[in-house]
Subunit: 382 residues, 2 copies
């Protein structure tokens, strides 16, 4: 059966693709990075013979780890055993953040894309791919008249979703953080995998998840982030226009394209970081639209909550099926989150306080989603 | 209206995110890269104070361009004016290919992700985003029993696609090249944008496009590519199992989920590079499934075409509505493509020969798709 095949033809284009960047020098031997060991420690390697310093910056570690250089100019460091999860990381070579050139798994981001490493865990972890029925992730494109740009949003439909059936699905609007793009909750947060798994286990009600682009004022991304957030008008416009685009453009489009309920009792809004603040701001100011509100590590609300939520009072308790406010205890935003919760308490507004271990990381937010989603669209009133 | 807002709260998490990788050193001033100038020349910049050599490797340029270092340790180079398009590129710092840390636009790839720069052009270019009706890109996930892995595929539905209408759409299976993932034709090739534009102009019939993962033997990716392609059994298994997964898994799933015609006259298969070879191999060996076959810069067919296509003869002319074989004249694969076309001619099989300027690049393949798609599913027989 073996035939002489002109594998050489394919070699030619492979060689063009793989060596054209290397100029006249022969390619160095391949680096293996990251290497996940059996004990879940991870070795990271980076060739940079002339750098004076290379550090490993890893999601969830405040202080980058120094790496050590060998005689071949390859820097490396091995972490302690890590909890199974996905971790973003960069190399910092002489002060410049770089992606790992040996790793094609990327954590996309509009400002700081990184490499990502998967430390695999048991199939019971909600973000592990299992052989269960899978939902579909739909990427929509449109011109926003509200924001005046071309943008996309993503929609997750659960396993078994049938556009021709008469069943109407509840809707979760799931918002990303500052610097993320609209793909963050699926590409990094693994929201579709988490929901597939929890739906297969009967823990989550099948729902449609809408993941819009969270910028009402995209120019907030085109400047140095620190400067942009010093401008309270820009921060407010970003939230206001985001809410307007969500309520008048994205949700109506979704309602035309998918079999979704328009009942406020079947609508939730939740998000992380900037998206947590947006969920609170848009959700609590539009209780006619949303009965379920979640906030994961929220950041970006104004300090004057009375001004931010002028109509919010204990009357909301009869409308809110769930107000769920989570933050990691090692997140510097734990303080404003506690402050906001105390304000809610002072107003007599019922809410669920969740404090978990962790910093301002996706490891926290994947767990937040896996804990929050099962609570949604249940018949028990709060 | 202006309120004192605690922008500082958001600053905290932004600062954590942006500086945690930088250790104790203050962040260097931001680098602008790439910078596209009014004349379409592009300046690329990369900070690497201790490198001995930094080159720019750009898609479509065989020999990387040397970059020059300034007193601040920033390397830069400015290209001549470039034709409007999207170009992949990397920096090669002391022999190591790196993505541009100042650019978040990424050309994903399973082996060699790169950065990407958009040189914008007139709205008449088919890959430019225009304010036309947009189709939707659907990401499906499944476990392949044929290949024994978890994998995804993408489906494009055209503007106005209505799953409840009775209209049946024709289907184009569009295949990526070696080292690409299933997202390549949308994320890099802009296939959805190209089709949106050409459908809006009435030049392309609305169709469903299926973009599967092109590896029947994914281990072809886990070894050094050169070595893998020296193994003719592996190369053949990769094509055979790919075809089996396409015909017995992906297409049946698509037929269950979308309103697509099952008529061979409404089915096309086309692809680039390895996917071009797969289109020829699967298409021409399954004329009961496909009436339209396209190949862009094909590479990876065996040398013994009689053995590769044992049943193919001039009888195919009555079944083939189109056999379209394109290659760039500066692509090293032009020689085997000409050889294959000569073999087709010797067998009396009608085909359309397309030679265009260009190398083995996405700039060629975007134009190939824009030229090929308008020919599909027309009533005129060849």
């Amino acid at each position: 059966m073996m035939k002489r095949r002109s594998a050489i033809l394919l070699l030619v284009f492979f060689a063009v693709a793989s060596t054209s960047g290397l100029g006249q020098t022969p390619p160095p031997p391949p680096i293996v990075s990251p290497e996940v060991h059996a004990d879940h420690s991870v070795t990271f390697r980076f060739r940079d013979p002339n750098a004076k310093s290379v550090l490993l910056a890893r999601e969830g570690v405040e202080k980058p780890l120094p790496m050590a250089k060998d005689a071949q100019g390859v820097w490396s460091v091995t972490t302690p055993p890590l909890e199974p999860d996905f971790y973003g990381y960069s190399f910092v070579a002489d002060g410049v953040r770089l992606m790992d050139p040996s790793n094609s798994l990327i954590k996309p981001n509009l400002l700081f894309p990184q490499s990502m490493v998967h430390v695999p865990g048991p199939s019971s972890l909600p973000w592990e791919m299992n052989d269960v029925a899978h939902g579909v992730v739909h990427h929509h494109f449109y011109h926003s008249a509200v924001v005046e740009d071309d943008r996309g949003y993503y929609v997750y439909t659960p396993p078994g979703y049938n556009s021709e059936a008469s069943q109407l699905y509840p809707v979760l609007c799931l918002l990303h953080g500052y610097s993320d793009g609209a793909e963050a909750w699926t590409a990094v947060g693994r929201a579709n995998i988490i929901l597939d798994n929890l739906i297969a286990q009967g823990k989550v009600k099948p729902m449609i998840v809408v993941m819009p682009l969270g910028y009402g004022a995209p120019e907030i991304l085109t400047r140095n982030g620190l400067a942009a957030f010093h401008d309270p008008n820009l921060v407010k416009r970003n939230m206001d226009k985001f809410g307007e685009a969500l309520l008048t453009e994205v949700i109506p489009q979704v309602e035309r394209s998918y079999r979704v309920s328009k009942d406020r009792n079947d609508r939730a809004i939740a998000g992380l970081s900037m998206g947590g603040a947006e969920s609170l701001y848009v959700g609590l100011n539009h209780l006619d639209h949303f009965a379920w509100v979640g906030s994961f590590s929220a950041g970006g609300l104004g300090a004057d909550y009375d001004a931010e939520f002028p109509s919010l009072n204990s009357g909301a308790n009869s409308q809110l099926r769930l107000l769920w406010i989570a933050c990691g205890t090692d997140d510097r935003l734990i303080t404003p989150n506690r402050k906001f919760r105390a304000w809610l308490t002072s107003k007599g507004i019922r809410h669920t306080d969740i404090e978990t271990p962790g910093m301002h990381t996706w490891m926290v937010w994947r767990r937040n989603l896996a804990a929050f989603a099962p609570l949604l669209f249940r018949n028990n009133t709060p």
